[in-house]
């Protein structure tokens, strides 16, 4: 290759000229733990530092907020990752608080509104209170749930050991089913001396309804309208899975809205911290189950950063090919499902699924599975694409898909009904989109040209020629157009990747079940079809990650849902939600 090898994205905040410690003497110090980077901020100065980073230095996009429980040190940590929408590496900063209840940290929700759900998640899972958060309720579990499950000293009912492989399974292998071993013969745990007959149920919904805005209005004639609360979901044909929204209506107009989630909270992070590093790979498949190939990449990127290994050259190309195919099939399905939400029930989706099957054939040939590909390994991919499948791929990329995207456009783009339903609906300004931490096509449809493949290239994306698609309108129609054009750009990348792919091994080093990961932290983020998918991994040098956090685009992109829906009609709410492109496995994790 003529271009220089770059297998690792630049590490954020390391060797950066930014010196927060000099700017805030006594309040900020560099994080000097081995393998860590960024800054440790005193709790009382968090808001001042955050405001400085946003207003003076331009770190306007809060990518991720997450908690870490350092049980042996008796500390809890909240980690913030901020980036500039103009591109470049980000800044990590952390707040450390003693691990004694009540644990309190100031909220940054008014500096970056995108922190809303993430702070609620940390409260729910770690029990860290965010002072100043207006609506700090549990988000993934339910109100009334006992304990904060991500704490290191909280054990689930089926608890066996701190870390896998469990002795019962390996090497002896005398496995008894978890029900047999657990106290209640089921996956449940109750407080001491719990008596379900005397226990008085607290309504878990009460806080939710209280959080909805009180609303009454009077028009000129003195007629008063009352609010109607409509519960949509968790079983609803339009919610793309088990998502629920509580909507307050004035007539047909949405005046307030609260998303309720956690109906598919499968404890990825808790299980992920028990798993070994490689065991987590198939779990990432099941996050955004449409796009297992790109999920794999985000995770392997983070672990490869920690391990400091190179990715085999051919594997880099295969990763790009698979990720871009994934993007195309995701956007195709999005168009199909979007039209479902608009009322053209299932016919457009049939067209989308036809193409998706062809793409899945290639995934199956390469990885052995249609959906849950589990294709990446640290340092490459698990196996090469068979030659026949590669020929098929060429046929798809050069002939079939361009024609099909053309066909979709011919049917839809200027379709009068589609335009009428989409244009001007669900508006989100560029400022709001950034403030609410929107990423992916949602952000680009609001006119912000932010694509991680360009802003902070990972893998070999710096070698490809493609456009970052944006539209200035910020409405639903723009979101549709961005996605259609992104499929074309993906095809462009695919053409270049197929042309340039070298021969060679697909894995650097030997395949291994157990990898040695040096202590430290890493944040791997990729431009997944739905937005920025980030994995925050902390290793302590043991076979299992100490912390495994997923920054899910579906989850964080929903923060702006209320903003987009208020003032629109209830029928449009369904479409606006669809346009965000959520998938519940990733949303609830």
């Amino acid at each position: 290759m003529s271009t220089p090898m770059q297998t690792e994205a630049p590490r954020p905040a390391q060797n950066s000229p930014l010196d927060l410690a000099a700017k805030f003497p006594g309040a900020v110090r560099p994080d000097e733990r081995p393998g860590y980077s960024g800054w440790i901020v005193e709790k009382d100065h968090l808001r001042a530092v955050a405001t400085f980073l946003r207003d003076e230095l331009g770190y306007d996009l809060l990518s991720s907020v997450t908690g870490v429980d350092y049980l042996p040190e008796g500390k809890m940590e909240v980690v913030y990752q901020v980036y500039k929408t103009t591109g470049g590496p980000g800044v990590f900063f952390k707040v450390q608080v003693p691990r004694v209840d009540p644990i309190e940290v100031p909220s940054v929700i008014d500096i970056w509104p995108g922190a809303d759900f993430q702070e609620r998640e940390i409260w729910d899972l770690y029990g860290i209170r965010f002072n100043g958060h207006p609506d700090l309720r549990r988000i993934l579990t339910w109100e009334g749930f006992e304990g904060h499950p991500m704490r290191k000293d909280w054990q689930e009912a089926y608890y066996e050991e701190e870390a896998k492989p469990y002795k019962s399974r390996w090497p002896e292998g005398h496995h008894v089913s978890a029900e047999e071993k657990s106290l209640y013969k089921d996956n449940v745990r109750y407080p001491e001396k719990f008596d379900p007959e005397k226990w008085t149920p607290t309504d878990p919904e009460e806080a939710l309804y209280a959080s909805l805005k009180k609303y009454t209005s009077t028009d000129e004639s003195g007629m008063e309208t009352e609010r109607i609360v409509v519960n949509m979901g968790p079983q609803h044909p339009s919610t793309h899975g088990v998502f629920r929204a509580v909507v307050v209506l004035d007539g047909e107009t949405v005046v307030s809205l609260k998303p309720v989630m956690g109906y598919l909270h499968r404890n990825h992070e808790k299980i992920g911290e028990r798993n070994t590093f490689l065991q987590n790979m198939p779990y990432t498949d099941r996050l955004d189950y449409f796009n297992s190939m790109s999920n794999n990449w985000g995770y392997s990127l983070a672990v490869e950063k920690l391990m400091g290994i190179q990715v085999a050259e051919r594997a880099e190309y295969l990763r790009v090919i698979m990720a871009e195919l994934t993007r195309i099939q995701n956007h195709l399905i999005w168009i199909g499902m979007m039209l479902n939400d608009l009322g053209t029930y299932f016919t457009p989706a049939l067209y989308a699924f036809e193409e998706r099957e062809l793409i899945l054939d290639i995934f199956e040939a390469a990885s052995g599975s249609r959906m849950m590909c589990n294709y990446h390994r640290f340092g490459g991919v698990v196996r090469d694409v068979p030659p026949e499948a590669f020929e098929k791929l060429k046929g798809l990329v050069y002939d079939r898909l361009p024609a099909k995207i053309e066909e979709f456009e011919r049917y839809l783009t200027e379709n009068e009904i589609l335009v009428a339903r989409l244009k001007g609906i669900g508006y989100l300004s560029a400022e709001d989109a950034i403030a609410y931490s929107m990423t992916g096509p949602m952000l680009r449809a609001s006119g912000v040209p932010y694509d991680i493949r360009r802003a902070e290239p990972y893998g070999i994306y710096d070698r490809f020629d493609f456009d970052v698609v944006t539209r200035p309108e910020g409405d639903m129609y723009a979101r549709y157009l961005v996605r259609v054009e992104e499929m074309r750009q993906s095809l462009r990348i695919l053409e270049q990747a197929i042309r340039d792919i070298p021969e060679g091994p697909v894995l650097s080093g030997k395949p291994a079940y157990q990898v040695r990961v040096p202590p430290g932290e890493a944040y791997g983020r990729i431009e997944a079809p739905k937005g920025e998918l980030g994995f925050y991994v902390i290793s302590t040098g043991k076979p299992n990650p100490w912390r495994y956090h997923v920054r899910a685009p579906s989850f964080i992109n929903l923060t702006a849902l209320e903003k987009m829906c208020v003032g629109n009609k209830i029928a449009d709410f369904v479409a606006i939600l669809g346009a965000v492109d959520i998938v519940l496995g990733e949303l609830d994790r």
Binding site: L140, T141, W142, G144, F145, E146, P149, E156, A157, Y158, Y159, E160, A178, L183, Y184, D186, N187, V188, R189, Y190, P191, E192, K193, F194, D195, P196, E197, W199, P201, P204, Q235, H236, P237, G241, V242, G262, Y263, L264, H265, R266, N267, K270, I271, P282, Y283, R286, Y289, F346, A349, L350, F353, E354, R356, E357, R370, M371, M372, L584, G585, D588
Partner: protein
């Protein structure tokens, strides 16, 4: 169903009446109607739901088995395809949906999670299989099962329907036609109301941590 299959043995049809008249049992014709128009509930929980949609789409086309009419309301559906991980937060809604389905109704546990918790079994918010609450007719292994596996499972369900008899099924007998399953409650953890006494007893025996 060809005439050979439809004609039950023991009745001889004159040669000139063949292909005009068929004699069969009520059970058979009734089950034939039911097995060929099983309406699944449009209800997806997780990853498996995507394979369920794929099975409905062009390449696999579940319409061949009369199962393409997905109903979003439980009141009109015959089959609950539990397609994905059942979480504690979701299971009250699932049980309620099941209770709302009219008889005859069937439950298919699609995939490892719905069958027994699957890869997420150890998770604190995961129910170890829908059969902890609902009577399951067919289990389909896989994570997720391919559309072919799903269709194979549904054919198994059809075979099950074939074997049922009007004389024995509970919804044609006296008494309530359907069994209500108590909807579990979300407390400090999920509470299965059928196990109240047992839970109380075990909780009382647990030695206090401080002691």
């Amino acid at each position: 169903m060809d005439d050979h299959e439809l004609n039950s043995p023991g009745y001889d049809i004159p040669e000139d009446m063949k292909n005009v008249v068929a004699i069969t049992t009520l059970d058979r014709i009734y089950n034939w109607g039911r097995r060929s128009s099983v309406w699944p509930m449009m209800f997806g929980l997780a990853c498996c739901a995507i394979e369920m949609i794929a099975a409905q789409a062009a390449r696999y086309d579940m319409a061949r088995f009369g199962m393409e009419v997905m109903r979003p309301t439980p009141r009109q559906s015959d089959l609950m395809l539990v397609s994905g991980t059942v979480t504690k937060k979701m299971v009250p809604a699932i049980v309620r949906l099941y209770n709302q389905m009219p008889e005859p109704k069937y439950v298919v546990a699609m995939g490892a999670c719905a069958s027994g918790g699957g890869p997420f079994k150890e998770g604190y918010n995961v129910v170890s299989g829908i059969d902890k609450f609902l009577p399951v007719d067919v289990y389909i292994p896989g994570c997720p099962p391919t559309p072919q596996a799903l269709i194979a499972g549904l054919i198994k369900l059809q075979e099950k329907i074939d074997k049922q008899s009007i004389r024995q099924v509970r919804w044609y007998r006296k008494g309530p036609d359907s069994v209500e399953i108590p909807v579990p409650v979300l407390g400090p953890d999920l509470i299965d109301l059928r196990r109240k006494a047992e839970i109380k007893q075990i909780a009382a025996q647990v030695p206090s941590k401080e002691a």
